[in-house]
């Protein structure tokens, strides 16, 4: 009984190749995705914005969206989180959601500050 358990244990630890992992080809693919997204950001900043070819209010949300996309590729593939156990991935990703709370609170607060400044400085 106990030897069986040990066998199962070594089996899981002894064969990490069973897990899906990064190959050289995948690494190069992810690199080109990251490079492509950065190139797109540059295209927006250097070509579209100066020539007013893009609706101004969506420029910053667009940048942030592309940034989050890049972050996903770095964390999922370079940092290998996509191939970890789902429970572990959640243990890392869910606490990050607290940051959204701070963003909301401080955005709200900064609007109060700017009004206050207008009232005080005229």
């Amino acid at each position: 009984m106990s030897s069986e358990t040990t066998n199962v244990h070594t089996d899981e630890v002894g064969h990490p190749a069973e897990h899906e992992t990064m190959t050289k080809k995948k690494i190069v693919n992810v690199f080109f995705i990251l490079l492509g997204i950065t190139a797109l950001e540059f295209f927006v900043a250097l070509v579209l914005v100066p020539r007013h070819l893009i609706w101004q209010p969506i420029v910053n949300p667009f940048y942030i969206l592309l940034t989050l996309l890049k972050a996903f590729f770095i964390v999922a593939y370079f940092m290998h989180l996509k191939f970890e156990k789902i429970g572990f991935a959640m243990a890392i990703i869910l606490p990050i959601l607290f940051i959204i709370g701070l963003i909301l609170v401080l955005t709200n607060e900064s609007h109060y500050w700017i009004d206050l400044r207008k009232t005080l400085l005229g």
């Binding site: 950065t38 940034t67 156990k85 207008k118």
Partner: protein
């Protein structure tokens, strides 16, 4: 009857959380590195969100395309994003060489690990060099913690007609935040380079070959990718937005 009961117990014992082995199937040090990076992510987000809040609360802000429009030593003006683009490219490339070192480690290919690690270190040093040039350039214009350029220089970063008081106020905040946040990030890059050098020495000494796994390379790899990840955000919020 009793055999059925034993089988049921065996079945329960084979689930990930029933004990006997790590439910995450990850090594202790690697998990701890992830939790350190999580805490570091909170630190960096606090800094970047404070930057966002101060920027939102200002009526004006120095335009990034005007503040960062030079390529130190080569182009003095009208080249926004070019230098920082180079820095971004260097850091992404060094992230790629790092992940290639990890991949070589999985195959226990010592020589390849060393080569990729050395390229990663070179990438890190190049990034630090670029940042030093960037800081020197801004310092030369008059920006520093608690210092802003004189009236004439300051006007270059704003539209015509912005009151001087508002210019000075927002520029001061910009300077403090820029040097604090890129400085904190640069310090992470610097630490990363030092740790990379130590790990490379260990690889050369055959420490991980004797241990039978290059897991340490993977752990420092996580840290290095995180530094790249933070730069992606710093790049967006300081240079693009």
């Amino acid at each position: 009857m009793s055999t059925v009961a034993t089988q049921q117990i065996d079945e329960i014992k084979s689930t990930p959380w029933s004990g006997g082995h790590s439910p995450f199937e990850a090594e202790y040090g690697k998990i701890m590195m992830w939790f350190f990076l999580l805490s570091d992510a909170f630190t960096f987000s606090s800094l970047l969100i404070s930057y966002g809040a101060l920027r939102f609360s200002s009526a004006v802000w120095p335009a990034p395309s005007l503040v960062f429009q030079s390529f130190p030593g080569l182009i003095e003006k009208d080249a926004p994003l070019v230098f920082v683009g180079l820095m971004t490219l260097i850091l992404i490339l060094s992230s790629v060489t790092m992940v290639l070192a990890v991949e070589a480690g999985h195959r226990n290919a010592k020589k390849e690990v060393v080569n990729w690690m050395l390229l990663t270190i070179v990438g890190g040093l190049m990034f630090l060099g670029c940042q030093a040039l960037e800081w020197t350039h801004l310092h030369g214009e008059g920006f520093w913690w608690g210092h802003i350029p004189n009236k004439e220089t300051l006007q270059e970063f704003f539209k015509q007609g912005v009151p001087l008081l508002q210019q000075q106020h927002s520029s001061q905040q910009f300077a403090n935040l820029f040097f604090t946040i890129t400085g904190f990030h640069g310090f992470h890059v610097f630490s990363g380079v030092i740790i990379n050098i130590i790990i490379t020495i260990n690889v050369l000494a055959g420490t991980y070959q004797r241990r039978g796994s290059y897991l340490m390379v993977e752990k420092i790899g996580l840290y290095w990718h995180f530094v790249d990840l933070v730069w992606v955000f710093v790049f967006t919020f300081f240079y693009l937005v």
